[in-house]
């Protein structure tokens, strides 16, 4: 049973990947305390290290071209183990959605609405995303090209605006930290923003593309998005330098420092636009993924009906996740990278190996 029968084009799929990574680039605060001004090195190494992981996702997508992850799990591990793993993925997707929603609420509170409770902002967002999720993948990914372009434009403008403040000394000294720190940071990069891309395995049957295109679009999206992440980090380090570790939102601080004459100063409005458009897109996308995962798991024929309920669940879960943004960052540094490996790399790897050993699928799709 296919939950959502609509299909999107491969190009739009690529834009979705880019936008997903772009939105992760907004929240780099948690990375900085570990490797500080050398974080750009670890972003680079993270991008390289993650290539095989993305290749693994691609391999699974191509192996079962008309099944989403839940169906693949049941196909590979049989009904019982498959269901158990499927349930754990439901939790994981909900967790991911809640985290991003919580981020959206907290950051909006910091950036533009200081006195409004985050709950109100989260509810407002979920109402809108539930509305989109009801209309399926086409509507959810409709604006990926627009928002991606907007994101690129904002990045380009911001780089130009802070060009006069970038100090090369801020990148020095290089390789001054113990090797363990670099490993830790690389690991964080490859699990938190990049490994999250495993959500694309949930939309395999909804993408219309050939085998050859799959490589092009997945890696094209991955590198475009990764480049955004890298440029953002380099820009922030170049402007802020060693003080960077002090801020929860380095990008916001960078834009706040813009000073080009009288007219062009305090451009944090750019950050606010990027934040709301990209993070809301990400929440919408993850909300959609959670809804179809639940619908697939429990054979809900009409997934539209559970979109608002799932949204409520996401809000409730999101509120109880962390006490504050520092707590969140610490958890992202210490707890998440280790734990998320299970979902992002271990299970997909086992799926891949088992499928190879069991010689699945019997009839290879084109």
């Amino acid at each position: 049973m296919r939950v959502d029968k609509e299909q999107i084009s491969g190009v739009r799929f690529m834009f979705t990947i880019v936008l997903y990574l772009e939105s992760s680039a907004l929240l780099t605060g948690f990375l900085i305390p570990v490797t500080r001004h050398e974080s750009w090195l670890t972003v680079l190494s993270g991008l390289i290290v993650s290539i095989p992981v993305i290749a693994l996702f691609r391999a699974i997508m191509l192996m079962f071209p008309d099944m989403n992850l839940i169906q693949v799990l049941e196909r590979v591990f049989g009904p019982v183990l498959g269901k158990v793993l499927g349930l754990s993925y439901i939790w994981w997707f909900l967790n991911l959605t809640s985290l991003n929603l919580r981020d959206l609420g907290d950051l909006t509170k910091i950036v533009i609405l200081k006195d409004t409770p985050a709950l109100v902002l989260m509810v407002l967002c979920i109402i809108v995303t539930s509305y989109a999720v009801r209309y399926g993948i086409k509507v959810v990914t409709w604006y990926s090209a627009l928002f991606m372009t907007l994101g690129f434009a904002i990045l380009a403008i911001s780089v130009l605006l802070v060009m006069n403040q970038i100090r090369f000394e801020n990148f020095l000294p290089v390789f001054s930290l113990p090797i363990k720190k670099y490993l830790h940071s690389t690991h964080m990069i490859s699990t938190i923003p990049l490994g999250e891309l495993m959500v694309i395995m949930m939309m395999t049957p909804n993408v219309r593309m050939s085998r050859k295109d799959a490589t092009k679009y997945i890696f094209g999206g991955y590198f475009l998005g990764g480049a955004t992440l890298l440029i953002t980090i380099i820009r922030d380090i170049g402007v802020l330098g060693p003080t960077m570790g002090l801020f929860a939102l380095p990008s916001l601080m960078t834009l706040r420092l813009v000073r080009l004459g009288e007219a062009l100063s305090r451009m944090e409005i750019l950050f606010a636009i990027a934040l709301i458009s990209q993070l809301a897109f990400k929440v919408m996308f993850l909300h959609y993924i959670s809804v179809i995962t639940i619908a697939q798991m429990f054979n809900v024929r009409d997934y539209k009906r559970i979109s608002l309920v799932t949204g409520a669940l996401v809000i409730a879960y999101g509120l109880t996740l962390y006490d504050n943004i520092v707590d969140h960052a610490v958890s992202a540094q210490v707890f998440a990278p280790v734990f998320w490996v299970i979902f992002e790399m271990l299970i997909p790897l086992i799926v891949f190996v088992t499928a190879k050993l069991r010689k699945l699928p019997e009839i290879r799709g084109t």
Binding site: V11, L121, V128, Y131, W142, A145, A280
Partner: protein
């Protein structure tokens, strides 16, 4: 959203009950008309039956006369006064019939109608009919009906000649450059205006009749081989499925056939100008011309169409592009300006430059209401003024605008009831909203929604509202075409926010035209008039 579900449920319930009702009506109708009354051979009976069918109206004229060699036949001509051309009736119908004196062989009484139609009268459009209801229908549409004694058939002779407005410049869409003719209330004039623009045999014109009581004639016009067959079928299905009392204006049809009846955005396009409609028909759209209104509908409609005007294609591309961008900006201002003002003044003081902030604070000092209420009052009073200006007779309308806008606005500010910045914001909004007449309904409604969201959660609320509008636009379709096409991805961009030079628009818009999609086969590059073959190829690329 919950409302979406409720909406759909409501729509379902409405449509199912509507269908059930329609079914009952049909049964009744069938019971009434179990045997269509045929014409008899008696002249008197036929005339009486027809007069009865027309409720013996005082405007029904019956002219009896004797005719034929030795005046051996008697006949009658029935028509409705005022809907026929009396000169035509006397010259082209009555004169030949009455002066018909000679013939080789007297026709039998049964065939008299045929003989009259083929040998005697000189009218262009004559038809034999055999039932009383057909006779009544033709009288009602302005034809004359000829009966002869002893003949069970009647002649329907086209003698339409009612008063109609001549072709004038449309009031709703005036142009600086371009044709000044506009459609009229007469269906045939309108189809002719369109045919004069597109002199192609492939321009099809299909007639339908809708409305149980009004019997309104509707014409679908499209170019065979360019228009999408599915769209035509859907359109016909939806129009033929209508069993309603009356169709008085194209707005009636629009509401019955559109894809999203409860959306603030209209998904059916309209225009009053033949050149605009011709342009759309040439892009593969279907025009729906309705008798009795100068507004012609076109489907499918895209959102970008609201921002296109006829003059865009007649003026220089760069200028047209600029004007289009101005129109989009105006639309954004019309929807968002009051909301942004509310968010800035009540939530985000830090985003306003300090001098401006001080000015606003000074102007707002002493005004009694919160910003939202103040803006809301001003928006509503503007709507009142506008409505007053439109509906009232022109001389009074001007008085309204002077008293309302100038005196009241100035007095309200100087008395300190509203701040001057609010008046400025609302004035800009009002002017901007006039730039896009096609989206006037949507921007008025969305403006209020955005203001409420801004009062609730500042820029975040506005952003989420915008998000919801964008999502809503993405879900809309118009007869199978995605309504918001042209923004999601790069197709059709040549004629959306920008207007590329005409020679770059080589293909008709995707998703609208089917079949022959090539618009320009070859052209000589306009850049170098004396260049040779090689440049022609370069231009084609």
């Amino acid at each position: 959203m919950l409302f979406g579900f409720m909406k759909r449920k409501l729509r379902y319930l409405l449509s199912s009950s509507g269908q059930a009702g329609a079914g009952d009506d049909n049964k009744e109708k069938r019971a009434e008309q179990h045997m269509p009354p045929e014409l008899s051979t008696s002249l008197d009976e036929n005339v009486e039956a027809l007069k009865n069918e027309l409720s013996d109206g005082s405007d029904v004229k019956v002219h009896r006369f004797r005719f034929g060699p030795d005046l051996c036949y008697s006949g009658a001509l029935v028509f409705i006064d005022g809907m026929t051309d009396s000169l035509f009736i006397s010259e082209a119908i009555l004169r030949p019939i009455v002066s018909w004196r000679t013939c080789d062989e007297l026709p039998k009484a049964r065939d008299i109608a045929r003989t009259v139609s083929s040998d005697v009268i000189c009218a262009g459009e004559v038809q034999l009919i055999a039932s009383v209801s057909d006779c009544a229908a033709s009288c009602l549409s302005g034809d004359a009906v000829f009966f002869a004694d002893g003949c069970p058939e009647a002649l329907q002779i086209n003698a339409k000649g009612y008063e109609k407005r001549s072709v004038t410049e449309p009031a709703s869409e005036s142009v600086v450059r371009g044709p000044r003719e506009g459609f009229t209330e007469n269906l045939r004039t309108n189809t002719a205006l369109l045919r004069r623009k597109i002199r192609s045999g492939r321009l099809r014109c299909e007639s339908l009749t809708v409305g149980k009581r009004t019997q309104t004639h509707i014409c679908l016009m499209y170019i065979d081989g360019i228009a999408d067959k599915k769209v035509i079928e859907t359109l016909k299905f939806r129009i033929k499925g209508l069993d309603v009392d009356s169709i008085l204006e194209s707005g009636y049809i629009e509401q019955y056939i559109e894809d999203a009846p409860l959306s603030p955005f209209s998904t059916v396009g309209y225009s009053e100008k033949p050149d605009v409609i011709a342009g759309r028909v040439l892009e593969g759209r279907v025009a729906v011309i309705i008798d009795g209104t100068p507004f012609v509908l076109t489907v499918p409609m895209l959102f970008v169409e609201s921002f296109q005007t006829a003059e865009d294609y007649y003026s220089r591309p760069m200028y047209a592009t600029m004007m289009r961008i101005v129109r989009y900006l105006a639309y954004i201002i019309a929807v968002f300006a009051p909301a942004i003002y509310i968010s800035l003044t009540s939530f985000h003081h830090e985003m306003i430059p300090t001098t401006l902030l001080l000015t606003i604070a000074k102007a707002r000092e002493g005004t009694p209401f919160p910003v939202f209420l103040e803006t809301f009052i001003m928006v509503i009073s503007f709507e009142i003024l506008r409505e007053g200006g439109i509906r009232l007779p022109r001389p009074v309308g001007q008085a309204i605008s002077i008293v309302g806008a100038l005196i009241m606005g100035d007095a309200a500010v100087s008395a300190g009831i509203v701040g001057a910045p609010v008046v400025i914001t609302i004035a800009i909004t009002a002017v901007a909203s006039f730039l896009i007449p096609m989206q006037n309904e949507s921007d008025t409604m969305l403006r209020l929604a955005m203001m409420a969201l801004a009062a609730f959660a500042g820029f975040y609320g506005v952003a989420m509202g915008t998000f919801a509008i964008l999502i809503h636009l993405a879900t809309l379709t118009s007869f199978g075409a995605a309504y918001f096409d042209g923004f999601a991805w790069t197709r059709n961009l040549q004629d959306s926010i920008i207007r590329m030079p005409l020679w770059t628009m080589k293909r008709r818009p995707k998703h609208i035209a089917k079949g022959d999609t090539v618009r320009i086969k070859s052209f000589i590059p306009p850049l170098r008039p004396h260049a040779g073959e090689s440049n022609r190829q370069a231009g084609d690329d």
